[in-house]
Every structure is written in structure tokens, then in C-alpha cells.
């Protein structure tokens, strides 16, 4: 189990050692987002913007226009949410090379409650032309995603859940590519298409479904945009139905992206596991995830229901 903000902080530190053009910005959350590791090692390339997320996004645009590779960091709510228009106009429209790194995404923020539980960031970021949107599922993938984001010339949104995630990749050097989905388990009745912390839950659900005689494939769609259409072609020709799983609103995220592609290209039954059109609540992360329907039980129940329709 690893908290992905630790993976992010360490990956950033490694990247900083290799590339002098990497600069890091934060908005009074260096310790919470673990950019403090980079700040300690490279104080001359770390800039605290204070509690001013909008300014941070636009400052990063200027740094990128000056030839540097800025990584901005903060909680998803205040990075993708508060600074949406700065990201859209200052970073997205001029397609500047800024990496937007959001920790504390989704309901697993827990006790802080709905004001801090960002379940809208995929939707916001996906609608910006040219924006890449990635939500890794574990330590190895989080590290690989940070590196891949650096190597991609253009804006990237990286989202990390707050909860610790179990390792889904035994080999830390597994092949990761932005825009490439990964099949973690083969199956022919249903495909569970997940990202972030829902990947491990989808794997658990697949095990539960197997006991009921249901063969479930599990796909990790870490990249929400650009959507891996080749993988969707493969999936849609091998299974009878699809269940999407994400720690995000069912509106505008991975589920809707997949549903739109399936609806237009290969219609089949589909169900979305995610946060319904409601705000979250305080509580322990696991309690909140359970109360809002984001567990392996919910995935397996939704799948059984879909297959028996």
C-alpha cells in the first residue's frame, strides 16, 4: 500500500535531479502534496505561491512560455476546480507545457467533507481541447505517469486519490504509456473499466464475480483523455456488457467517455459506478466510499444486475 502523493513527490524529486528545466509550484500545500521533497532538494526551483491557486496556474503558463517545465500542485478541488478558467485560458488555449498535479482527488479525502472532495475534475479537465487527463492506480503507475507527463510536450492533468493504494503492478518498470489502457485480467462476460483507486476494487469484484460463474475482464484506463479507442474496440468485441468504475461523479468522467464511445460505435449494455449527482460527506475514507457506492460489492452487484437484465 502506498499513498500516491508520496509516489508523486518522489517521482518529482527524481525528475528534478535529471532535468534542470523542471520547476515546481505549490499553493501552501508543499507538505500535503509532498512537493516538499523537491523543495528541500531544489529550493531554487521551487516556488510557493501562497494560498492563491489561480495565480499559480497563470504563473506556470508564463514559466512554460519562458521554456521551463513547470509542475503545479495542490488539492484537486482548488487546482482543477478553482483555477479552471486559468487552466483553460492560460494553459489549455495556448497549449503550454504545464503539468497540473492534483492530490486529494475524489471522496477518499474523507473527514474534510464535501467542500474538499473533488468529484468533478475529470469532467472539467476533459472538456479542455488538447488536455491530457491521467489518474494512476498505484505507486508504480503514479511514478511512471509523472515521468510520462514530463516527456509529453503539452498540458497534462494528473490526479491522485488521497487513499493509499495497493500495488497492482509487481514490476515497477512495467510498460506505461499515456493513452494506452491496460488489461489486468481477461474475461468474456463483462469488462470492468476502471481508473485510480477503483482499479483494485474492480479486481476484487472480478474475483467475486468468478465465484458466481461470471467471467469479468478488468481494464485499467489510467488515461481518460485521449481515450484508448483501440482498447475499446477490443473490449466491445469480446464482452457482452461494460461496467465503468471511477472515484468521480458519474457525470462527465471516465464512465461518460466510455459510454459515449460505446453508444456511437458498438452499443451494448453499460452501467456506471461512480458518485451519483450528489455532494459527499465527512467520514472515514472507507466509510464514505462505501456510503456512496464505490466498493467491490457495488461493482459486482451492478454487474450481476446488468447481465440478468
Amino acid at each position: 500500500m502506498t499513498a500516491l502523493r508520496d509516489s508523486f513527490g518522489q517521482a518529482l524529486l527524481a525528475l528534478g535531479a535529471e532535468h534542470p528545466d523542471v520547476v515546481v509550484l505549490n499553493a501552501d500545500l508543499a507538505s500535503a502534496t509532498k512537493t516538499s521533497l523537491f523543495a528541500k532538494q531544489f529550493p531554487e526551483r521551487h516556488f510557493n505561491c501562497g494560498i492563491a491557486e489561480e495565480n499559480m496556474a497563470s504563473i506556470a503558463a508564463g514559466l512554460a512560455a519562458g521554456g521551463l517545465s513547470p509542475f503545479i500542485s495542490g488539492f484537486a478541488m482548488f487546482t482543477a476546480g478553482r483555477s479552471f478558467e486559468q487552466i483553460r485560458n492560460n494553459i489549455g488555449y495556448p497549449h503550454l507545457n504545464v503539468k497540473i498535479c492534483a492530490t486529494h482527488g475524489g471522496l477518499s479525502v474523507g473527514e474534510d467533507g464535501a467542500s474538499h472532495q473533488c468529484c468533478e475534475d475529470f469532467a472539467l479537465m476533459r472538456t479542455i481541447p488538447g488536455m491530457t487527463v491521467v489518474c494512476p492506480c498505484d505507486d508504480a503507475e503514479a511514478r511512471a505517469a509523472v515521468r510520462a507527463a514530463y516527456e509529453l510536450n503539452g498540458p497534462v492533468y494528473l490526479r491522485f486519490s488521497r487513499s493509499s493504494a495497493p500495488d497492482m503492478h509487481s514490476n515497477p518498470d512495467f510498460p506505461f504509456a499515456i493513452g494506452k489502457a491496460e488489461m489486468l485480467r481477461n474475461g468474456y462476460d463483462v469488462a470492468l473499466i476502471a481508473n485510480g483507486l477503483m482499479v483494485s476494487r474492480a479486481m476484487e469484484a472480478a474475483g467475486m464475480l468468478a465465484k458466481q460463474g461470471i467471467s469479468a475482464a478488468v481494464w485499467n484506463f489510467a488515461t481518460i483523455k485521449p481515450l484508448d479507442e483501440d482498447a475499446l474496440k477490443e473490449i466491445s468485441t469480446t464482452v457482452r456488457c461494460i461496467v465503468t468504475c471511477e472515484e468521480h461523479s458519474i457525470i462527465g468522467g471516465l464512465g461518460e467517455a466510455v459510454a459515449a464511445w460505446i453508444g456511437e460505435n458498438h452499443p451494448m449494455p453499460l452501467s456506471r459506478i461512480g458518485v451519483a449527482d450528489v455532494f459527499g460527506s465527512s467520514g472515514k475514507a472507507e466509510e464514505v466510499l462505501s456510503a456512496y457506492g464505490l466498493t467491490s460489492d457495488h461493482i459486482s452487484e451492478a454487474t450481476a444486475k446488468l447481465l440478468h437484465k
Binding site: 505561491c49 504563473i59 503558463a61 519562458g66 492560460n90
Partner: protein, 287 residues
């Protein structure tokens, strides 16, 4: 600066105002008031102040300009065209479908544009980021950012000022086009921003206030700005919205309105008359 040099700049500003008028009239859309108020400082920047090369718009050690009040794009386009960044004839494509001259500046389309702007309050932050990048990469280039006075109502502007002061961005020069008008009327009535200089000073900026339409004052103001060592400086430019066309001057109604054919003809006559007088005065001065 000699009288002849001042004359050249005045003549250029008059040309630029004619370009602004014509391009906005052709587009039948655009922000003429704030373009006219900014014309003189833009002429100064691109002809006397900044290290730029029209044949190499991306020159690494160039000075940068960010039009934070992006709606004054017609003025910036006119100056860039007159300076040779692209053909003057192209100004007639302003705001047309797929034109390089979009309604607000786009750094990826137009030669000479250093930052995409248009959403108020953001350009100054990007300018501060640019200034920081130049410092980090050891370049001695400077960044100039022009803001509208109404734009000071955006909270992000003050976040940017705080950042620029905190990081001692002495290579950043902030210009405020203080024409005292915004879409809904006078700034003092819509949302009072006074006292501007005191507010700027309290955010750690060194401030001077000059007549933004006087080239000798612009020369003085910018020479002072070059001496800034400890942090960013700001020049508040007292200007007149719609400057150069009598019926547009100091009239908020001309913030974002294009002149019709009749108004265009009248305005053109006024600018031609100013040009004629300028040439006459110049002839007298060298005779």
C-alpha cells in the same frame, strides 16, 4: 529625444490610431476606446523601449510584452504591423474566421505576440511567470505588462503583484492604462479602485505616474523603470479612453463598439487632420 524624434513617434501613433479605426470598422466589431488609450505607450515600447526583432519574433533574448488587457489587441496588432512583424494589409482580417488576428491575442498564431491573453487578470500573472523564467535562465531581458485600470478589480491581479514583489521580479515593469472608464461607466462608480498608486505601493511596487500620451514623459517614466533593482515597478499612465477621436474620447459607450460608416468617415477626417497638422508643425520646426 529630439523634436524630430518626438514628431516621428507622434506620426506613428497617429498611423496606429488610423489602423485601429480602420481594422475595427472593417471587422464591424472590436474594442476601440481602450485600444486608442493604449496606442502611445505601445508605440513607445515597440519603437523605443523593447529589444525586439520583427524578422525574428522568437529571438531568445528579446524583451517580452504581455497585453493583460487583451481586448486592446487592435492597438497591439497595429503597432506590430507598422513595426514589420506582419504586413499592414493583414490588419483588415481582424476578427475574421481563422484569421491570425483573433479578437484577443494568441501567441501561437500572431508573430510578435508573447502571451495569449483576453481573460482579464491573468496576463499579469503570466507576465510574472515569464519574468521569473528569464531570471531563472540567466537572461537579462525584461517583461512589460499592460493592464487596464478596470482590470485592477480582478483579485488575481493582486495575487500577481504579491508574487512579483515577494520574488523581487525587478525585470517586470507593470503598466496601468488609467483611462478611468470601463464597460459600465466610470471606474469610480462601478467599483472604485482609488487610490491606485497607494494600493500598488502597499503591494511592494515602486510607482510613478505619468501622462500616457506624452512621449517625453514616457521616456522619463521608462528610464526610471530601467533603474529598478529591488523589485517590480509600475507606471500608472494617465490616459484618455478613445484618445484621438473627439466624439469617442472619455465616453464609456465606445468601450466595445465599432464605428458605423458615417462615424468611421468622421473619425478618419479627424485623424487625417491631426496628421496634416503634425506634418505642418514638423515642417515649421525644421524650416
Amino acid at each position: 529625444m529630439t523634436t524630430a524624434e518626438i514628431y516621428e513617434l507622434k506620426l506613428l501613433a497617429c498611423k496606429v490610431r488610423t489602423d485601429i479605426l480602420n481594422s475595427i470598422h472593417t471587422a464591424a466589431s472590436g474594442h476601440i476606446g481602450g485600444s486608442m488609450s493604449a496606442a502611445d505607450v505601445l508605440v513607445w515600447l515597440y519603437y523605443r523601449q523593447m529589444n525586439v526583432d520583427p524578422s525574428d519574433p522568437g529571438m531568445a533574448d528579446r524583451d517580452r510584452f504581455v497585453l493583460s488587457k487583451g481586448h486592446a489587441a487592435p492597438a497591439l496588432y497595429a503597432v506590430l504591423a507598422e513595426r514589420g512583424f506582419f504586413p499592414v494589409e493583414e490588419l483588415s482580417t481582424l476578427r475574421k474566421l481563422h484569421s491570425r488576428l483573433q479578437g484577443h491575442p494568441n501567441m501561437n498564431l500572431t508573430p510578435g505576440i508573447d502571451m495569449t491573453t483576453g481573460s482579464l487578470g491573468q496576463g499579469i500573472s503570466a507576465a510574472a511567470g515569464l519574468a521569473l523564467s528569464l531570471k531563472l535562465t540567466g537572461k537579462s531581458s525584461r517583461v512589460y505588462a499592460l493592464l487596464g485600470d478596470g482590470e485592477l478589480q480582478e483579485g488575481q491581479v493582486w495575487e500577481a503583484f504579491m508574487f512579483a514583489s515577494h520574488h523581487k521580479l525587478s525585470n517586470l515593469c507593470i503598466l496601468i492604462d488609467r483611462n478611468r472608464l470601463q464597460i459600465d461607466g466610470q471606474t469610480k462608480d462601478v467599483m472604485n479602485i482609488s487610490p491606485v498608486e497607494k494600493k500598488l505601493e502597499s503591494f511592494g511596487l515602486s510607482v510613478q505616474r505619468i501622462d500616457g500620451h506624452s512621449f517625453p514623459e514616457l521616456e522619463k517614466g521608462f528610464s526610471w523603470a530601467e533603474t529598478a533593482e529591488n523589485g517590480p515597478c509600475a507606471i500608472v499612465l494617465d490616459t484618455v479612453k478613445g484618445k484621438g477621436v473627439s466624439f469617442m474620447e472619455n465616453n464609456a459607450g465606445w468601450h466595445g463598439k465599432a464605428p458605423n460608416d458615417e462615424e468611421h468617415a468622421l473619425a478618419l477626417l479627424e485623424l487625417e487632420e491631426q496628421m496634416r497638422i503634425l506634418k505642418e508643425e514638423h515642417y515649421d520646426s525644421i524650416a
